[in-house]
C-alpha cells in the first residue's frame, strides 16, 4: 500500500490566498511594503513632521512661549498662520515645538517598552519553565490594565510629570513586544545552531545579544513602531487631561486642554483642530507604517 499524503484543496486555496511574487526575502519585503502606498505616504508625512520638529525655531518665527496680550484669540492670518491662543502666543509656533515634545516622549516611552519587552520576553523564552509562565502571566495582567487609568492614579499620588508618564507608558506597553520576542526565542531555541552555541559554552547573555536579538529584530521593529504610535496617542491623552506635559511647555495634548470649554470649541476651532489633527495624523501614519512593516516582515499575519 502506498501511503502518500492526500492532496488537500484547502491547502491550495490557502496558497492561492497568499499570492505575491517570488524574489529574495529583502526585495519581496520591500515590494510588499511599497505596495502599501499608504505606508509610503505615511513615511513622507512623518519625515515632514520630524523636519518641522527639528527646525521648529527657524520655521515658526515666533517664540512659542512669548505672551502678547494685544493679540489674544486671533483667528488665523498672514502674521499668525494658525492664530493665537488666549495669552496671545502663536499657535503655529507652539504646534511645531509641541511636535518635539510629543515625538520625544513617544519615542522615549516606546523605547522603554521595547527594552522591557525584549528583556522579559527573551528571558521567558530562553529560561522557559516557571519563569516563562510567570512572565507571560504578568504580561496578561499588565496588558489588561489601562495605561490611562494607571497614570491617573500614579500622577495623582506622585504628582504629574513627564518622567512619571514615560515610565507608566513604558511599564504598561511592554507585553506586546515581550510576547513577540518570547515567540521568536522559543522557535530559535529549538534550532541547531543555538544548541551548538550552548554546547560550546555560550551563556544566556551571549545567546540573547548574538543570536536572539538579531533574529527577533524584524518583528521587534514592527512592535516598536506600533508602540511609538500607542505612546504618542497616550502622551496626548494624558497631557490633554493635565496629567502629562505641563504648561507652558507645549505638547499636542496639552494644547487641546484649553479646548475643554464650549466657547473655545465653538468660537476658536483653530486652537484645538490643528493640534488634534496633528496627533491623529501622526498616530495614523505610524500605525500605517507598522502595518506595512508587518506585511513586509510576515505576510501571513495580515
Amino acid at each position: 500500500m502506498t501511503d502518500l499524503p492526500a492532496d488537500l484543496p484547502g491547502e491550495l486555496e490557502a496558497r492561492a490566498d497568499a499570492s505575491a511574487g517570488r524574489s529574495t526575502p529583502w526585495r519581496t519585503g520591500l515590494r510588499r511594503f511599497r505596495r502599501h502606498t499608504v505606508a509610503v505616504v505615511s513615511v513622507g508625512y512623518l519625515l515632514l513632521v520630524v523636519a518641522a520638529a527639528v527646525f521648529a525655531p527657524t520655521l515658526s518665527g515666533y517664540d512659542p512661549n512669548a505672551v502678547d496680550l494685544e493679540h489674544v484669540r486671533e483667528a488665523p492670518s498672514a502674521a499668525h498662520w494658525l492664530g493665537t491662543d488666549p495669552t496671545g502666543r502663536d499657535v503655529f509656533s507652539r504646534l511645531l515645538h509641541a511636535a518635539r515634545v510629543s515625538l520625544g516622549v513617544g519615542l522615549a516611552a516606546a523605547g522603554l517598552a521595547v527594552v522591557f519587552g525584549t528583556l522579559l520576553g527573551g528571558l521567558a523564552g530562553l529560561l522557559g519553565r516557571w519563569v516563562d509562565s510567570v512572565v507571560m502571566r504578568l504580561a496578561d495582567v499588565f496588558l489588561s490594565f489601562p495605561t490611562v487609568v494607571v497614570t491617573v492614579v500614579v500622577a495623582g499620588i506622585l504628582g504629574p510629570s513627564v518622567p512619571t508618564m514615560i515610565i507608566a507608558i513604558g511599564l504598561f506597553q511592554w507585553p506586546v513586544c515581550g510576547r513577540i520576542v518570547r515567540g521568536v526565542t522559543l522557535s530559535l531555541r529549538e534550532q541547531e545552531y543555538l544548541l551548538a552555541a550552548r554546547a560550546a559554552g555560550a551563556g544566556s547573555f551571549w545567546l540573547m545579544t548574538r543570536h536572539i536579538v538579531p533574529a527577533a529584530l524584524p518583528p521587534i521593529s514592527v512592535a516598536a513602531t506600533l508602540a511609538v504610535a500607542q505612546a504618542i496617542g497616550l502622551e496626548s491623552t494624558l497631557s490633554f487631561l493635565g496629567l502629562g506635559v505641563q504648561p507652558p511647555t507645549p505638547s499636542w495634548g496639552n494644547m487641546l486642554t484649553d479646548a475643554q470649554s464650549l466657547t473655545v470649541i465653538a468660537g476658536q476651532p483653530w486652537l484645538w483642530l490643528a493640534p488634534g489633527i496633528a496627533v491623529a495624523l501622526t498616530v495614523l501614519a505610524v500605525n500605517f507604517i507598522g502595518d506595512g512593516l508587518r506585511d513586509a516582515v510576515d505576510p501571513r499575519q495580515s
Binding site: V141, F145, P146, F240
Partner: protein
Amino acid sequence: MGAYLARRLMTNVLVFFLITIAIFWLVHKTPGDPIAMRIPPDQLNSGTAEYIAQRRHELGLDRPIVVQYWFWLVNAVQGDLGYSLLNGRPVTELLAERIGPTVELMLVGLLISLLIAFPLGILAARRRNSAWDYGTAVVSLGSVSIPVFFVALIGIYLFSLKLQLLPASGISDPTNPGLLDTLSHLVLPAVILGFANSGTYLRYVRSSMITELNADYVRTAEAKGASPRRVVVRHALRNSLIPVLTVIATNMGQLLGGAVVIEQVFAWPGMGQLAVSSVFQQDYSVIVGFALLVAILVLLSNLLADVLYTLVDPRVRLR
C-alpha cells in the same frame, strides 16, 4: 474545568495582593499625615490629642509598615476606604454614587462597539481583499489611532454646537427629565466610546472569522446544503466567538480608560471624572479608592474571560 477555574482564581487573588502592595506603597509616599485620610475630618479637628492618638493606634498607624499595610487592607476589603480630604465624606460613598454612570457608559459603549465590529468584521472576512475589506481596515485603524478626546471634541463641535442636535455635557437635564433626555445625553459619549473600542474587536472578529471560514467543517456544512448565511451564523460565528469573547473581557480595562477620558470631556458624573478632579485637588484617599476599585474590576473581567471561555467551548467545558 473546576481545577482550571480554581487555578485562575488563585492567580487573580495573588495578583490582587501584589496590586494592593503597589497601591499601599504609593499611599505611603503621599505627603501629609496618613491619619487625615483615615478618620472623618470633624473628629480630626475637634478630637483631643489623646483621642487621635488612640485612633492612630486602632488603625495601626503607629506600627511597622507591614502591619500598617495589613490594617489598611483589612479595612479596605471591608469597604472602609477612608475619608475624602476635600469634603470629609466616606470614599466608599463617593465612589458608590459614581459607579453607576460609568458602568452605564461602558456597557452601552461596549454594545455599540460590538455592533460596529461584528457586521464589519464578518463582512471583511467574507470578502477578503475587496473594497469592503480595505474600507474596514481603515475604519479599524482610525478607531485605534485617533485619540478619543479629539473625536469627542469633533463630536461636540458638529452635533452639539453646529447642528444643535445633542447636549454637549452632563448625564441629564433636571428641568426636562424623561427617557428622551437620558438617551440624548447618552448618545454622543457612548457612540464615541464605542467607535474608539471597535477597532480592536474588529481586527479580532475579522481574523478569527477568516480562520473559521477556512475550516473543514464549514465545507461540510456547505456540502449539506447550508446557505452562506447559515454557514456564518450557525457554524463559523459560534467558533470565532471563543477567542473574541476572551478579548472583550480582557479589554474591559481599556474600555474603562476610554470612559475616563470621555467622562472628562462630557462632564459625565462617573468615577473617572471623580478620579481626575481628585488628582488636581490632591484628594489622595479618593484616588486610592478609585485604584482599588479599578483593580477589582479589571481582575473580575479577566476571571469572567476564563469563565466565558469554558462555557463557550465544549472541549474545555467537559474536560
